[in-house]
Symmetry: C2
Subunit: 357 residues, 2 copies
């Protein structure tokens, strides 16, 4: 019998002629199949697989052989049902095509995979309502933990969703410490705008515009607070010089173009993030404005493109990949049962480049 196996083996572990039959019945090889074939109990097989309990190396080896021969693979689902661990984590982000988020996601994915976790990606497309739908869809029974990036949802909606999960980490957001650990930049978008305005004011600009990220719950301050704060410092940011934009290049371009045409008196513009700022940069040049001579621009994430356009974009840098890695690490800690609140803050540092030297 042993000697006849090789043939079967090949067609099972390789793409063979009996593929069609398999597709019909989907005859999964189970623990019991292995047990029967090996002449042991299911429990023994289970122990071999999980490397748990004491087993004679003899049976262990024999069972391993049978497992390999049959091409047995334990059902993650069945295991999840009984252990209550799925080895998956959810990652909720606004837009995977935004380099800022794809870098964070990469950091997360690469980190959790080391511990055999998989990432369930949920893209909210920068929409609060979609974010809610998506969060609602991710049941606690399908993930061991959740990382929520730059949530656009108000607390009343976000917090109950987080509460459903065993382990949560939020990025760019503050929530009650019992609910989640947190990784974020120290300034937040509001402070970043203030930093930018100060920088521009110091450079002599008096008419500064601000194209901010539309109704984002990640904003630690709202526009009026920012204006107020700056006014206190003698920097004058008119309310009408502040408009919102969705955080994509195209929206930055469209918004920026209309904005610059409406307020030609502006000598500087702050973008809510790099994509917006880069859109504005293109709009400015299409309008015949010289950057930075006629118009200075400051962005906000230091994505690759920021350094490669002409003139290169002055922006704020933060370790995106590392933020993803750390968020993942904090989540793994929580999943492992260590529920102590942890918080990682990163400074955003201003990178002075051509658009606002």
């Amino acid at each position: 019998m042993e000697s006849k196996r090789p043939t079967t083996l090949k067609s099972v572990s390789f793409f063979g002629e009996n593929v069609k039959q398999m597709t019909n019945k989907r005859q999964r090889i189970t623990l019991d199949d292995v047990a029967r074939e090996a002449g042991v109990s299911a429990m023994t097989v289970s122990r071999v697989i999980n490397n748990t309990g004491r087993i004679s190396s003899e049976t262990r080896e024999h069972v391993s052989d049978v497992i390999a021969r049959l091409g047995y693979r334990p059902s993650r689902t069945a295991r999840a049902l009984v252990t209550n661990r799925t080895y998956m984590i959810g990652v909720v982000i606004p837009d995977i095509t935004n380099p800022y988020f794809s870098e964070i996601t990469q950091g997360v994915e690469e980190t959790v995979r080391e511990d055999d976790y998989s990432v369930i990606l949920a893209n909210t497309n920068e929409s609060a309502s979609r974010e809610e739908v998506v969060l609602n869809h991710i049941d606690a029974s399908m993930v061991d933990g959740l990382i929520v990036c730059s949530s656009r949802l108000p607390d009343e909606i976000l917090l109950p969703q987080l509460e459903r999960h065993q382990a949560v980490v939020v990025v760019n957001r503050k929530v009650p410490e019992e609910l989640a650990s947190s990784v974020r930049t120290s300034y937040g978008l509001g402070f970043r705008a203030i930093q930018s305005a100060r920088y521009l004011a110091k450079a002599g600009h008096e008419r500064i515009g601000y194209v901010y990220l539309g109704r984002s719950a990640a904003m630690t301050m709202d526009i009026d607070q920012i204006i107020e704060q700056l006014a206190a410092e003698g920097i004058f940011l008119k309310r009408e010089w502040c408009v919102s934009s969705r955080p994509t290049w195209q929206h930055g371009y469209d918004t920026g173009k209309a904005f610059l045409e409406k307020f030609p008196e502006l000598t500087a513009v702050i973008g809510g993030n790099d994509l917006i700022a880069l859109g504005i940069l293109r709009a400015a040049r299409d309008l015949g404005r010289k950057v930075p001579e006629d118009l200075a621009i400051i962005g906000g994430d230091d994505i690759l493109m920021a350094s490669q356009v002409t003139p290169p974009l002055t922006t704020f840098r933060m370790p995106k990949h590392e933020i993803g890695v750390v968020a993942a690490q904090l989540l793994l800690k929580r999943i492992a049962g260590d529920m102590t609140y942890r918080e990682h803050l990163y400074d955003e540092i201003l990178i002075e480049r051509g658009t606002a030297p």
Copy 2:
């Protein structure tokens, strides 16, 4: 009893003071709990949830009430175990930070989510060995289907992996029709290089370099075939003028710099993709070469950045987002049981811009 519920309700569906207790016992509310509370059988509750079978609107309503009151959510895991459907699909891609792939991924995610599927993201970091590990990790029991993008694996390794899955779609790859539907560009990387070379030759270039994507199984032709093909057309591409690079900006930059220094006689360079080409562009400018006067450059994906650098990059355009959408649609068809082979081919069209006018 009914009148006392509201209090409990709030602390269950909202973040309440008994969070701590819940975290301990993780006392999931089950179907039976609902059934008991509603005074019906579990089956009835199941029917209400799945909207299946005939149920008096009276009991339906009552059960729905209890479900809402208890904040019951069905266990995806348990359901998956019995239905053999997880409502998840796997997406294997080389690098999520490459805009080319993040756009495809976005298309996939957004499409499958309409049908309540979630995406498991597996990033291989452009490494064949990691891709193998990752594919091995994605068990057929955890996904209903799989989309593999630009696999770097040879057939001997890739095909058996695909065979394990019920439904597969490959992007930028050809596999036996029984195994998977396919979405890809009509040219493939090899043909794209040939198109580029022809274009450059026509523009008068005689010394053309080629920085290609390292040992990628997505190449329909290898370098020697390309050289041969071009030679037949009277276009001379020396073997030593062809070097490989990993498909990232930084590698493109480093490789490009060394390459240009070693072969200053080149008047044009073809990049394996946009990131590589953009890296070369920067390297060329850092070396004091004027583009396109001293050196023409052609890229290959038409990512956003390509159009925004100076001079803008001549490249090939293909509908990345749509490719993701279609791949997802083909996969959903297969998951639904329609296993007919389908193939979508997209033309890559040359976008003539500043780096190679």
